[in-house]
Amino acid sequence: MPLKAITANRLREGDVVYLTESGLWSNWLNQACASEDETVQQDLLQRAEADVAARKIVAPYLIDLIEVDGILQPLSTRENIRAAGPTVRADYRNVPLVA
């Protein structure tokens, strides 16, 4: 299976977050818990759904990733933009785009 992690938006603030290994939600993609194992992925999705019920986050889903030199990167342009912020102005960005 391809490498995947869970993303969502925080309910209260709306910002983009990723589920970490410890079960917290981080703004940093590289802290996401990523796995190639489908069972683990489904388990992550269940934990996310529990956090939807707990009113921490909304709209969780799995995204495809690749790991390059220890850095997690989304495969799609859409998820790259979600992770880094709009590409239109440097000062709008959340974090620098990974080269």
Binding site: R12, G14, R78
Partner: protein, 551 residues
């Protein structure tokens, strides 16, 4: 300008309180996301790619300085210091926090604004000519009727759950700046043979995945019957519009499927039952609303101002700005000044809080406290004295608001695209930015002349690509951004839908493609021929040949 009456105040305040309660219950877990989503959408609050997005209604695109200052304050206090003016004359905030939105709405209510009916399958904010009340070609101020429609359509119980969203535009001038042929209903103020003023009623226009030019179903509707006739159209649509297929739910599909003649008959039959009833507009009521839009107290001035002419003669930059951004006003000695939100390398329609405050101040001092938003994502100071234009321009220059490109190549419409939008397939804004950098030479832009490029990041066509002289549509090809180009579209009184020129271009190649199209045009145009006229004369082949010759 219109001021809220007690009823307006009451319903807006009530809605703020309601939404505050709904947000509290959502955060407390009493409402699930599925239950809450339709409630937030009824208040213009979306969840987008990065964050929540709030769309605030600006009725018929008109703002006072006080309102603009409040929009600036909201951008600063609740968002990241900027807002985005849209093609529906609204403003969107890209980063509000859910928990703070009730306070934000309360701040809007204080200046008679809200976000009601900016989303959902209801009658959306009514748009109008952005030169309303100022242009010399106007028969009447369209905002009088847009306001009457606003009052009728706000919280209209029968039309709160239409098959799909519903957009109405009104223009009072024969030169259509409001794209009335591309709305669910377009109203064009006309004079009949007897000299009476009424409306040409156009129905079933729209863009999206099925671009359609609206059809006239009534050549002349007397003013008194405006609301009963609109109600008849909405009733027919509400009953017969498709609810089984999202993509076939707009009124344009109903008009196409029933045929314009049958559709007109159905409306007229419905109207027979409504006509002369409670919805008939008494002349006094029209007059009452009209007084809100009475022209400001213009001074009696000569048509020519020597100081203005002198500055224009001495200062080439000022003269260039006047050439593209200043339009004729109906009153002698006054002008309409358009403020471009399309600086080189900028995001079309974005304005910072500071820029909004500058515009508010200029409007207060020089334009009778009035600002208009154009559907082309620019701002307008409608009533500036010729003698004040130099001072206005000096201030605009200091705040990056004086780009002299209104109507020119870099005055592009672009939707938020994949940089912000959940529905987008490709980015729009960076394409606009790169085009504006490629064509940054202002002399060259002025030499090219009027040219409308419009960019959408998906088939929903929020960037109006179908009606661009050059349209650009972002598509996703196996995860990569590609751009399909159309030629020959037009949103004005010569309404036309653009034709696809050939295979799509990659993100890297799309700017070269635009360059090639412009080169073909310059090469083949005769004297002052406009782009669409050249295109009509020589056809698509020469553009195609040059575009795909290298491939």
């Amino acid at each position: 300008m219109y001021r809220y009456d007690e009823f307006d105040h009451a319903f807006v305040q009530q809605r703020v309180a309601q939404f505050r309660g709904q947000v509290e219950r959502r955060l407390a877990g009493e409402l699930s996301e599925d239950e809450f989503k339709p409630l937030r959408l009824m208040n213009g609050l979306y969840l987008q790619l990065h964050a929540y997005m709030l769309r605030v209604a600006v009725p018929y695109g008109t703002l006072s300085s006080k309102q603009m200052r409040r929009l600036a304050r909201i951008a600063r206090d609740y968002d990241r210091g900027y807002g985005h003016f849209t093609t529906r004359q609204n403003i969107q905030y890209n980063w509000p926090k859910l928990a703070e939105v009730p306070d934000l709405l309360a701040e809007l209510a204080e200046v008679e604004m809200h976000a009601i009916q900016t989303s959902g399958n209801c009658i959306r904010n009514v748009t109008a000519d952005h030169f309303a009340g100022a242009s010399a070609d106007e028969i009447e101020d369209p905002r009088i009727y847009a306001e009457i429609i606003r009052q009728w359509s706000s919280l209209h119980p029968e039309f709160s759950f239409l098959p799909r969203k519903f957009k109405i535009a009104v223009t009072g001038a024969p030169n259509d700046r409001a794209a009335v042929r591309f709305h669910d209903i377009g109203l064009q103020i006309r004079r009949n043979e007897a000299g009476e003023v009424g409306f040409e009623v156009i129905v079933g226009g729209g863009q999206g995945r099925t671009p359609v030019i609206g059809v006239t179903i009534r050549k002349f509707l007397p003013k008194a019957h405006l609301l009963s006739y609109l109600e008849a159209i909405l009733r027919v649509y509400n009953q017969l519009g498709r609810r089984d297929n999202l993509y076939k739910a707009r009124i344009k599909i109903l008009v196409q499927q029933t045929g314009a003649e049958v559709f007109t008959r159905l409306v007229e039959e419905e109207w027979d039952a409504l006509k002369n009833g409670a919805l008939t507009l008494p002349a006094e009521e029209i007059e009452r609303i009209e007084t809100y839009f009475a022209p400001p107290a213009f001074e009696t001035l000569p048509a020519v101002n020597p100081a203005f002419e002198a500055r224009r003669f001495e200062d080439r930059d000022f003269a260039r700005w006047v050439r593209s951004n200043v339009s004729a006003h109906k009153a002698d000695g006054y002008a309409i000044a358009s403020i471009s939100l399309k600086p080189e390398g900028g995001a079309p329609g974005d304005a910072t809080a500071e820029q909004m405050e500058v515009v508010a101040e200029l409007a207060e001092i020089y334009s009778f406290d009035e600002i208009l938003i154009s559907h082309e994502q620019n701002l307008v100071l409608p009533h500036v004295k010729l003698s004040d234009l130099p001072a206005v321009w000096d201030k605009l220059v200091k705040h990056e608001l004086a780009t002299p490109n209104i109507g020119l190549l870099t005055d592009m419409i672009a939707c938020p695209g994949l940089d912000y939008c959940n529905l987008a397939n490709a980015r729009s804004i960076p394409v606009a930015q790169r085009i504006s950098q490629r064509f940054s030479d202002l002399n060259r832009q002025h030499e090219i002349g009027d040219l409308k490029i419009k960019i959408s990041g998906c088939i929903n066509a929020c960037g109006h690509h179908h009606v661009g002289h050059i349209g650009i549509l972002g598509v996703d090809k196996k995860g990569e951004e590609f751009y399909q180009i159309t030629l020959g579209g037009s949103a004005d009184e010569n309404a036309a839908v653009g034709k696809i020129v050939g295979p799509a271009f990659s993100y890297d190649d799309v700017v070269d493609a635009i360059d090639s199209i412009v080169a073909t045009y310059l090469d083949r145009r005769q004297e002052d021929e406009k782009f669409n006229d050249t295109y009509a004369r020589i056809g698509i082949a020469p553009f195609k040949e040059k575009l795909y010759a290298a491939a």
